[in-house]
Symmetry: C2
Subunit: 337 residues, 2 copies
């Protein structure tokens, strides 16, 4: 059920509507009518988002479009696995498979794109969407790295597009990085935030476009250090993972790094922490730079094969169903379930 506090449209009574937009969506939802979400691209992210809208928003009808010829059969076979409930039928009832892009986006409240991760594709798809969508439909891209300011190049109204970057799989993981371009309007940011908050997700607005956005920048910084430590012979792939899952993993599920170190500083907070532990911090940063350089930790470097092989030997094919079930329990434990 949609939370009626969700701002689907701004409070301005003169808010313009599209010519083909012959009813007030906000009132429609408050009186129990449906909104449509168009999902463009039926890969794992697309199906996971489709499941999320269907599961968390009773007022959402979901239309999926992709160019694959077996789309209908494919979606109906795989989506129930994402829904992962006994009576998936009652969710699947609100799903339609669109035959064309135009059919998918027409009358949609929001159009969510997760097509190929290529700039050419992104640049070319939005003008087509713009042509068929309501004037006030929201445009969301699930890209993990192509900023809205590059994707919007050929759009008529560049203010409508915002990146909504999930952490895979989005129907399980709460975070969504909302990354506006400088052209994105505040209205689009506000309505996007409001929609996802209403679904119980944890959207965060990233203030400036940057390479990799925030999640991957942080995660890959730790990953580089992990590769460097394994390549230095300090620890094995499996032992490093064991260390993370029994230390900063659970800590950072409860309190992020700033809050954790701020707490570590006691009454003097982060400032006290830096005074007391600063020498150790700088020592680690210096050692990191030395080791990363010495072991040539760049993508495709000599170190890479040995680490990939260790991972294969340690894990084989990972059971992501089990991982996701355990992750749900963790999220419940921290009140994010």
């Amino acid at each position: 059920m949609v939370d009626t506090d969700i701002v689907l449209f701004p409070d301005d009574p003169d808010y313009p509507t599209h010519p083909c937009h012959n009813h007030d969506l906000r009132e429609a939802i408050m009186s129990g009518k449906q909104i449509k979400i168009a999902i463009i691209g039926s890969g794992t992210i697309g199906l996971s988002f489709a499941a999320l809208h269907l599961l968390k928003n009773d007022a959402a009808d979901v239309a999926v479009f992709d160019t694959r010829p077996d789309l209908d059969e494919y979606v109906k076979r795989h989506l129930p696995g994402y829904l992962n409930v006994e009576d998936s039928g009652r969710y699947m009832n609100r799903l339609t498979i669109a035959k064309t892009l135009a059919e998918a986006v027409e009358n949609a409240y929001a159009v969510q794109e997760q097509g190929p991760e290529k700039l050419d594709f992104k640049v070319s798809v939005w003008p087509g969407i713009e042509q068929h969508a309501l004037r006030d439909a929201l445009f969301w891209s699930s890209t993990s790295g192509i900023p809205a300011s590059e994707q919007c190049k050929n759009m008529q109204d560049k203010s409508r597009l915002i990146v909504v970057h999930p952490f895979n799989p989005p129907h399980i993981m709460p975070v969504l990085e909302l990354v506006p371009s400088p052209a994105t309007s505040n209205d689009v940011i506000d309505r996007t935030l409001s929609y996802w908050r209403g679904l119980g997700c944890s959207p965060v607005v990233v203030k400036k476009e940057c390479t990799g956005f925030v999640v991957n920048r942080l995660a890959f910084a730790l990953f580089r250090e992990a590769c460097s430590l394994v390549s230095s012979g300090v620890v094995s792939v499996e032992d490093l993972d064991e260390i993370v899952t029994t230390s900063m993993g659970p800590r950072w599920a409860v309190a992020g790094p700033f809050k954790a170190y701020h707490a570590g500083g006691g009454e003097d907070g982060l400032s006290g922490f830096m005074s007391k532990i600063g020498g150790t911090v700088q020592g680690c940063w210096d050692a990191s730079a030395d080791d990363v350089g010495k072991h040539g930790i760049v993508v495709g470097g000599e170190w890479q094969e040995a680490i990939c092989q260790q991972a294969e030997e340690a894990y084989g094919l990972v059971d992501t169903k089990e991982r996701d079930e355990t992750t749900k329990k963790v999220l419940e434990a921290v009140g994010r379930g």
Copy 2:
């Protein structure tokens, strides 16, 4: 109750015992007798470890020594807070307050040191401990950065010392980094591993001494990136923490970075992940180096004050009791409770 599979001593019937060691400890424990753990240093880590031994090992008597004049009163006032159980009396019964270092370590199975984080102190304390302890007592240092190879300089038998580095607070967090020096014997490593495993902790042997050991190297690598992103104006302190607690925090509580990316590569594992996402990874690493340099992210740099202030405004004094209670629930969710 101690797991009787714990290897307290090697299986060799001729294993030498100290002159004052007039009973077989292994047999003593199997027949329900007690072993003694000496805790040197009564700060937060010392009390947390004391609580851990008392809570998780019914066969452990704990002796605490520190030079503070009000030691007896201090420990008896603060330790119950770490035990955090209704009937702390039955645990406190197994606690003694030692008046001298000699009294604390005599007849101990293991001596666990968490004194001042200064090389001079560590170097000077071990010979005194060595003088009074059983010949086969284990020597553990909780240092976060001074390697055993430096601490053992003045010891007669350098093979006895190993770093047992916790993640604060150790009575809650499972990880223990066991960091031997090149001189540490395999017997000491094995018995240390065995003892902590028997308590339900997650000890991991770090294969080589290195600056900061593994946990801090990893955590500080991400922390540097976090400081850089906030200093670049990309995201606020509080939003960055929110991002971490809703993405890699819960993920890494369930699967470490290698396992997580290995799973992300599907059937091709980590190798497939690097082929597909490698460009993004390298892009993030390059951007990281640029931004860290541009914003002068070194300890004590200009960036630091603004971030500490943001943390203070966002969090004030953190309720670590609540954090620890929630962390326990997370650890239960991942089967580490």
